[in-house]
């Protein structure tokens, strides 16, 4: 077996990245600039708004979508985070999560529709998603650096890659689950492709799609924390620094804040599909 020369997969990968970088560098740069603008804009907004205001708004949204218990939990949880002095970094993290999720939806929903409508597309997309999800996150944190350097942008981009698969998968699944009779209904009245999609298929796929978005949010949150290793600050940054300096207490505080944010986001978005 050893007589076969080693396949230089690592070298090929390096070559591919170098090629992409030199040929698509400007395109990716423009994308990165746009994304950075979005993240920085959101961060700026969240930090500019008074914390009391944000806390109350989130509590109200939680009440509306998830009930009294979650509303009270959100209120107390966020006050606790504020009290720990982690407000700014938490807002940074939330801005990153929101940016990543928005882009996941922007890219993932159309890809999911494509997969549901076109068998060939489905057969191409699904293995790629498997690959994206099983590849250890660290492995594609690294290639992001030559493209986007260190910092928030590559962190969010790796987050997008990591968190997008459930959006695509569940959009595809939700559309395929629309009962045959309702598809026939649409066609029998002469609906066009877009009318079918907008008036029948997407509304019926909505609960499944929202489950995908919920998963996407949770994955984004976890990845944004990991992405702090390549300079994406936020709560993850505190944890990362705590690990490096063996500051157990600080690391634990940030960890608790992450859990609180995770629970709030999860409970609120879990109920999006159910409401109405």
């Amino acid at each position: 077996m050893d007589s076969i020369p080693r396949i230089p997969l690592a070298e090929w990968t390096d070559a591919l990245i170098a090629y992409l970088q030199s040929n698509f560098g400007t395109g990716t740069q423009a994308f990165a600039d746009g994304l950075e603008g979005l993240i920085k804009g959101l961060q700026g907004l969240f930090i500019a708004l008074p914390p009391e205001f944000i806390i109350i708004v989130i509590a109200i949204i939680a009440w509306w979508l998830a009930g009294k218990k979650i509303a009270i939990f959100s209120l107390l949880g966020l006050l606790f985070v504020y009290n720990l002095g982690l407000w700014m970094v938490t807002m940074e993290t939330i801005a990153m999560v929101i940016s990543a999720v928005l882009l996941c939806m922007l890219i993932g929903v159309p890809l999911g529709i494509l997969g549901a409508k076109n068998e060939t597309a489905h057969r191409i997309i699904m293995p790629i998603l498997d690959f994206m999800q099983t590849l250890p996150a660290f492995v594609y944190l690294l290639p992001a650096i030559p493209f986007f350097g260190l910092g928030v942008v590559p962190g969010v981009i790796t987050t997008i890659i990591f968190a997008m698969p459930p959006v695509i998968r569940l959009t595809d699944l939700g559309l395929k689950q629309v009962p045959e009779e309702l598809i026939e209904l649409g066609k029998s009245f002469g609906s066009t492709f877009w009318q079918m999609l907008i008036k029948i298929e997407l509304p019926l796929a909505r609960p499944t799609m929202l489950a995908g978005i919920n998963q996407c949010i949770m994955l984004s949150l976890s990845m944004v924390v990991i992405a702090s290793m390549i300079g994406a600050k936020g709560l993850g940054g505190i944890v990362w620094r705590a690990i490096q300096t063996l500051n157990m207490g600080k690391g634990f505080e940030a960890g608790v804040a992450i859990v609180i944010i995770a629970i709030i986001l999860d409970r609120i978005t879990q109920n999006l599909g159910k409401s109405r």
Partner: protein
């Protein structure tokens, strides 16, 4: 008018070979064995007239749904023609097909197929929305049909809050809202309880009376077919084995299969007065006089006799005892004793409606046409024979 010529649908991905075998007369089973293709509809031809309710009936798997879906091309037929307004649906371009579906025909589904995220009003307005009619106008129109099907007050409810029967009313309202010429109904009442089902059948007949649509209605229930169909087509293994009026199907089944299908039906629904009446052999004219009438009745053992004028129009009947009294008095004219309180009916009245009358009347029921001409009489013996499955009447 819908004209269907030699329509064939073969399921599978190699239909050419299967079609070739089918044209040679090879059976469905043999075709499946040799080519792995499933024959859904096999060489079906028929014409549905404007304003007609055409029922397609058959056991599960006989190809009814397939045939219906070929008509609006939800399923693309493998061969044949579907001519509507002189155009072949099978070969028309996609845009034209879309227009046809939008304006010319609509469909009612077995499991209702209501959109759960829309209110009843918006469900009914769906077809109009697809046509691009503006909101105010389409909601007004939807409101109108909702009232037609008796769902006033439920406009803002959601489908899941309605019973099955009400949901199907919504389905029917939605199909009517676009005012199509053709309604395709695939077992619309099969999912409903028997009582609700009967109500719906009657209501459909009422609505049809008002609107006169061309309806193609699928069912596996013969009673239902007899009740609402102007004509019935019976399918077996993708083929149409008989097409005819309800009476044709009942009284002269074309094949053993149809005969078995028809065996257990409630015949009173399908039989009409004309199919079980007896030709009026024994009648008198007013000028015949009481003595003649009396002799006639004694000879044939009758207690009553219908009286006709010289144009054959029914004037009434006389009783044997009155005639003998009149004879004793020496009166020459029957006019004084003609009674007019006999039950009458039209030739096309369903027998079901006459059974009650039959039960209490002492005089035979007179079957008269629009001009009051006597066509026949209903006597117990022939009615019972008709119900029992023999050939009713002696026509």
């Amino acid at each position: 008018m819908i004209e269907i010529n030699n329509l064939t649908k073969i399921y599978g991905n190699n239909t050419d070979k299967a079609l070739e075998l089918l044209r040679k007369g090879i059976s469905n089973e043999e075709i499946k064995k040799r080519t792995k293709q499933v024959v859904g509809v096999r060489d079906a031809s028929f014409t549905v007239k404007d304003g007609e309710t055409f029922v397609i009936m058959g056991l599960s798997g006989s190809g009814k749904s397939t045939l219906l879906r070929c008509i609006n091309r939800l399923i693309k037929a493998s061969a044949g023609e579907i001519i509507i307004d002189g155009r072949d649906v099978l070969t028309m371009p996609a845009k034209e097909l879309e227009e046809l579906r939008k304006r010319k025909m609509s469909m009612v589904f077995q499991r209702f197929a209501l959109l759960p995220h829309r209110t009843i009003l918006d469900n009914v307005a769906y077809g109009l929305e697809i046509q691009g009619i503006d909101k105010e106008e389409r909601l007004a129109k939807a409101q109108e049909v909702i009232e037609l099907v008796g769902l006033k007050g439920w406009e803002d409810a959601y489908p899941q809050n309605l019973s099955g029967g009400m949901q199907q009313r919504v389905g029917i309202a939605r199909a009517l809202a676009t005012d199509p010429d053709i309604l395709l109904m695939d077992e619309p009442f099969s999912a409903l309880d028997p009582l609700i089902r009967q109500d719906m059948q009657e209501e459909l007949v009422d609505i049809q009376e008002k609107l006169r649509k061309t309806i193609i209605f699928i069912t596996h229930d013969l009673d239902e077919a007899l009740k609402i169909g102007d004509r019935i087509a019976l399918m077996k293994d993708g083929q149409i084995v008989q097409i005819g009026s309800p009476e044709d199907i009942l009284l002269s089944p074309a094949t053993e299969y149809v005969a078995r299908f028809v065996e257990n039906v409630n015949r009173s629904l399908a039989l009409t007065a004309s199919s079980v009446m007896v030709r009026p052999r024994y009648v008198v004219h007013p000028k015949d006089g009481p003595r003649t009438a009396l002799n006639f009745m004694e000879k044939h053992g009758l207690s009553t006799l219908f009286v006709l004028d010289r144009f054959g129009k029914l004037k009434g009947y006389i009783k044997a005892e009155d005639s003998s009294e009149l004879t004793a008095q020496g009166v020459k004219d029957l006019a004084g004793i003609i009674q007019t309180d006999m039950p009458t009916t039209r030739p096309d009245s369903p027998l079901a409606d006459l059974l009650d009358v039959m039960a209490y009347t002492k005089v035979p029921i007179a079957v008269i046409d629009d001009n009051n001409k006597l066509q026949g009489t209903l006597v117990r013996g022939s009615v019972i024979a008709g119900l029992a499955g023999g050939r009713g009447g002696d026509k």
